[in-house]
Symmetry: C2
Subunit: 441 residues, 2 copies
């Protein structure tokens, strides 16, 4: 028997705002950061997770994780790991903490970190990558991990179980196919705002040479720039090659419809985050207004209730799950089930720091045990900061290949953590990041 | 000229879970708490605000307020106070901090505290109560305080200005009427879960004797109890007396419709928080299912985008604005404008600690300068913890009477703060609050 002994949380920040990598219409100067949790036990092993933020406030996010210690410290590890549905519900239903959301923002992301670290530890004890730990569960076990409260008007328990039972059929063949071919990636590397047309062109050529079958461009800062960059991209990649655009919430409803229509001649594959992520009704109106361009969102969707509504209102064609925005693996399983119910593909959000490493496990689970085969499934990829992770993602021929190493992918090298501790690590000690107060407008 | 020197934040908690006051179906053991901000200047004056929480996590909320110091410290006070639309937009558009929401949860409530403390200081420098400071602004000045981004599909700039211009007509007469008669209150004091039928009956009689023209009962924990308590309340108060019910998000859609229909014979005036506050579509379905019972929500609505949708989808009959949930006075003015556009009354949420003192200013502003006269307007009242405030609310003949003292109402007595500091104040030093891990289910 072992018990949990501590939640060790570190404020780790990468000074990415010093370059223009990661710059978009709403986030001009992100410092990719991780509120990095190590869940310690009195055994030699530990669980790891992180919450991705973009700089300021990473300390608040870290404090929010730490405040969950009384739920874990002193508790039996084996019992807790055997009932991760139970601890997920306990954390999300802690009524005093729930008041701080409910089910959204800093406190929910903190709960997500603890849940994800518990899954990391469970997978490590099983000697499996997280995706396989999850995919090895029976339909009833997967269902027991989720909380259907507030979902029943869109997804009954019986429907969820049917989806999971259907997902279990042929699972072994799909696992073999996954190991063979992976899940297609798309790359955002060429498309950041602030890159010159020459750099855009060069990176687009590289993307195709690397085997990616889709790319994405950031838009929304300047309409004329968007048209020029989209025209270049279409010229470089040729007719029919999927090129998505991403406005990072820059627009209102009519603005979004107008902007996407302006880009229509260049055949965008999807428009991502056209407006505020909470605005279900606006997404439905935009989707109607920009058909046949698909609408995608989700990286800042707080919880299963929002995703349920986006699906009910026919507001999205593509659901972009995120590994660290919601209350962890369990909440994301509910979101995968909702997407499967509505036959909407899940194309996870990634990039940042560690998001690729973590979110791939959800896509692999979806591919082998929930939605199953779906040619529309793609995982975002940005070639950035992977060298800091013990098990960096492996991209081959434009596809994410599933790791076989144990865990959830979040664990960083000790040296990377030490170097980037904020504000006292060597990367920061010489230079306090300016409190840039930029608005996107 | 003066400058801001510090954000002094204190974690103040009242051990209300030791009694059953404040107990409802989702929040069985709240410790009413305040992340209490004093915004200091190098002049003798200061601004005050608080964020209301219900216990655990009040330290995280306090940390989130503190992290905003770089936006204020060293800044010119007069310039800042002269452009409170500017600082509100600067804080809500800080892209790195926005990532932590966006526009929701702990970080947004922190921004609300800073915005509200700035308004407190401005009102004090004018020697006016906040409601009168706001009501004294011209329509164009009020409009400049709000951020219409994401609202234009429901409220254009021109429409907002028309509402404010209409609101300015006859303002002086309405101010006089407000000072004469106040705004009607309703009381939740009798209706907490856990009170005996005898206590319920006694408190209902007292409510009517005190002049309240509406009461509210908590429901949702046990259906049979709800029917019995509602029957008692109807018998005591008589036919036609408005009795609202409040489920505190306990139900799913069909559950809510069924539960309210069960209580239909006792003629509930409104059903409050029937389900998850983010669930716009569920509110619309519930409203259709429970007509003629009204649907009310808002105390946990994060931002103007959610309220816009609740109004667009015809999901609510009553909008319950809260003083400390959203990004401060400015965000609440946008919400008041949206409600006026859709002709939905604003009946603010109060109770907790300090919420009555703060939120009344919004209702008074609405009454004199935005929606104007509206017999449906009522402010929630709970007779609890007012003695800790420098300017406690004044209820006369069942109505909130407007304060004339300067400020926003949030300032507490120094002794109350010292006594209730967590965890080292005398009220807590002897007794660590148990980390109760109760779920509502």
């Amino acid at each position: 028997m072992s018990v949990f002994t501590a939640l060790d949380v570190k404020d780790v920040r990468f000074p990415t705002s010093r370059s223009l990598d990661g710059s978009d219409a709403m986030n001009p100067d992100p410092d990719y950061s991780a509120a990095y949790l190590t869940l310690r036990t009195d055994a030699p092993d530990e669980g790891t997770a992180l919450v991705f933020t973009i700089g300021r406030g990473n300390d608040v996010q870290s404090a929010a994780i730490s405040v969950l210690a009384p739920h874990l410290v002193g508790r039996d590890v084996e019992e807790t790991l055997a009932d991760l549905g139970g601890i997920y519900r306990e954390l999300t239903h802690d009524s005093q903490l729930r008041w701080l959301g409910p089910e959204k923002g800093v406190m929910t992301m903190a709960i997500g970190a603890v849940v994800n670290a518990l899954w990391d530890l469970r997978a490590r004890r099983e000697g499996r990558p997280l995706w396989l730990t999850l995919a090895s569960l029976e339909p009833e076990e997967l269902l027991d991990l989720v909380d259907l409260r507030y979902l029943e008007d869109a997804l009954t328990r019986e429907e969820a179980l049917q989806i999971l039972r259907r997902g279990a059929e042929g699972k072994e063949q799909r696992i073999a196919a996954l190991r063979d071919k992976g899940v297609p990636a798309y790359t955002t590397t060429p498309g950041w705002l602030g890159y010159s047309d020459e750099k855009l062109t060069r990176l687009l050529h590289e993307a195709r040479e690397d085997g990616f079958e889709m790319v994405k461009l950031k838009v929304g800062a300047d309409a004329a720039d968007d048209v020029r960059r989209m025209r270049i991209a279409r010229e470089v990649m040729g007719e029919g090659y999927p090129i998505a655009i991403d406005a990072n919430q820059r627009w209102g409803t009519s603005e979004a419809i107008h902007a996407v229509q302006q880009l229509g001649p260049y055949d965008p594959y999807w428009v991502e985050e056209p407006t505020n992520p909470d605005d279900v009704l606006a997404h439905a109106a935009i989707r109607e207004g920009v058909t046949p361009v698909r609408v995608a969102t989700g990286e800042q969707g707080s919880n299963r209730v929002l995703f349920k509504q986006l699906l009910q209102a026919r507001g999205i064609d593509v659901l972009q799950a995120d590994a660290t925005r919601v209350a962890g693996v369990n909440e994301n399983i509910a979101i995968l089930l909702l997407a499967a119910k509505f036959d909407i593909p899940v194309c996870p959000h990634a990039g940042g720091v560690g998001l690729c490493e973590m979110v791939q496990h959800l896509a692999f689970l979806d591919a082998v045990a929930i939605a199953g085969d779906d040619e529309r499934r793609r995982i975002e990829f940005v070639d950035h900061l992977h060298e800091h992770f013990e098990v960096p993602v492996r991209i081959e021929r434009g596809a994410y290949m599933p790791p076989e190493e144990p865990g959830n992918g979040a664990r960083m090298h000790e040296q990377s953590i030490a170097d980037h501790l904020f504000p006292d690590g060597p990367v920061w000690a010489g230079e306090e990041p300016a409190p840039t107060l930029t608005a996107a407008s």
